[in-house]
Amino acid sequence: MHNRITLLRAERGVSRKDLAEAVGVNFQTIGYLERGDYSPSLELAMKICAFFGLPVEMLFSLSPFEPLTEALLRAETTRPTPETTP
C-alpha cells in the first residue's frame, strides 16, 4: 500500500505525534505507515483522510503514486489556454 502521508504532513506542518493523536494511534505507527512497513485498516485510512480533508484515493493507492512534479507538469501542459476556452 502506497501513501502520501509524509508529503501531506510536510506540506501542512503536521508532526507525526500530532497526526497520531488525532487519529488515535501510536506515533511509531504513523512512521511505519510512511515507511511502508504497515498497511492501515480501512478505519485508520478513513480517519487519516478525514484529518487531511482529502478523498482516500488521494492519500492511498495500491500502485505507486505519480511523482508530484510530473503530475504538476502534466496538469500544466493539459491546462486549456485562453484561446481555446469558450
Binding site: S15, V25, N26, I30, S41, E43
Partner: protein, 161 residues
C-alpha cells in the same frame, strides 16, 4: 484507560540486534538443557553450566524486554494498543502457541514412548525433570515476547523529516 497507562519509550534496538539477542537467549536455554541431560548429575560442571545458561537467558530476554515496547506489546491491555500493535501481538501469541503446543506434544511422545523404546535419554533424576519444567515455564513466559522482538520492524527515528 489509554491516557492513564504509561507507555514505555519505543525500543531503540534494531530488528537485527533483537533477533541476535533472541537467538542467543534460546541457545543458552538449550545449552542448559543439554548440560543437565548429558553431564553427570550433581557435578560442578552441571551447576556452572546451569548458572551460566540461566543468566544468559535472563540477560537476553531482559535486554529485549526491559524499558522497551516489546514487553509492553506483549502484556498491555487491548485498549492501550493501536491496531498495528494488536496485530503484532496477536501474531506473536499465535506463533508462540503453535511452538509451545508442538514442543509439548513432541516432548510427551518422546518421554513416554519414543525415548524408552529406542533406548534414548529420558529424564530420570530430579535435576533433569526440573530442567524440563523450567524450560517450559521460560518458553511459556518468553515465547510471545520473543516473537514480538523477532517481528517488530526497526524503530522509527524520533526526528521529523
Amino acid at each position: 484507560m489509554t491516557a492513564t497507562l504509561v507507555r514505555p519509550a519505543p525500543s531503540r534496538l534494531t530488528r537485527r540486534t533483537r533477533r541476535l539477542i533472541v537467538v542467543g537467549a534460546a541457545a543458552a536455554s538449550l545449552a542448559a538443557l543439554a548440560c543437565v541431560a548429558l553431564l553427570p548429575p550433581g557435578s560442578l560442571a552441571v551447576s556452572i553450566a546451569k548458572l551460566t545458561a540461566a543468566l544468559g537467558s535472563l540477560i537476553g530476554f531482559g535486554v529485549v524486554m526491559t524499558r522497551s515496547s516489546v514487553w509492553f506489546l506483549g502484556n498491555a491491555p487491548d485498549t492501550a494498543l493501536d491496531e498495528r500493535e494488536r496485530t503484532i501481538r496477536d501474531r506473536a501469541y499465535f506463533k508462540a502457541y503453535g511452538v509451545f503446543a508442538g514442543l509439548a506434544i513432541v516432548t510427551a511422545f518422546y518421554m513416554l514412548d519414543l525415548g524408552p523404546d529406542l533406548g534414548l535419554w529420558v529424564p530420570t533424576n530430579y535435576d533433569a525433570w526440573w530442567a524440563i519444567v523450567w524450560g517450559f515455564v521460560m518458553l511459556g513466559l518468553g515465547l510471545p515476547a520473543g516473537f514480538v522482538a523477532w517481528d517488530l520492524p526497526d524503530p522509527v527515528p524520533d526526528f521529523e523529516p
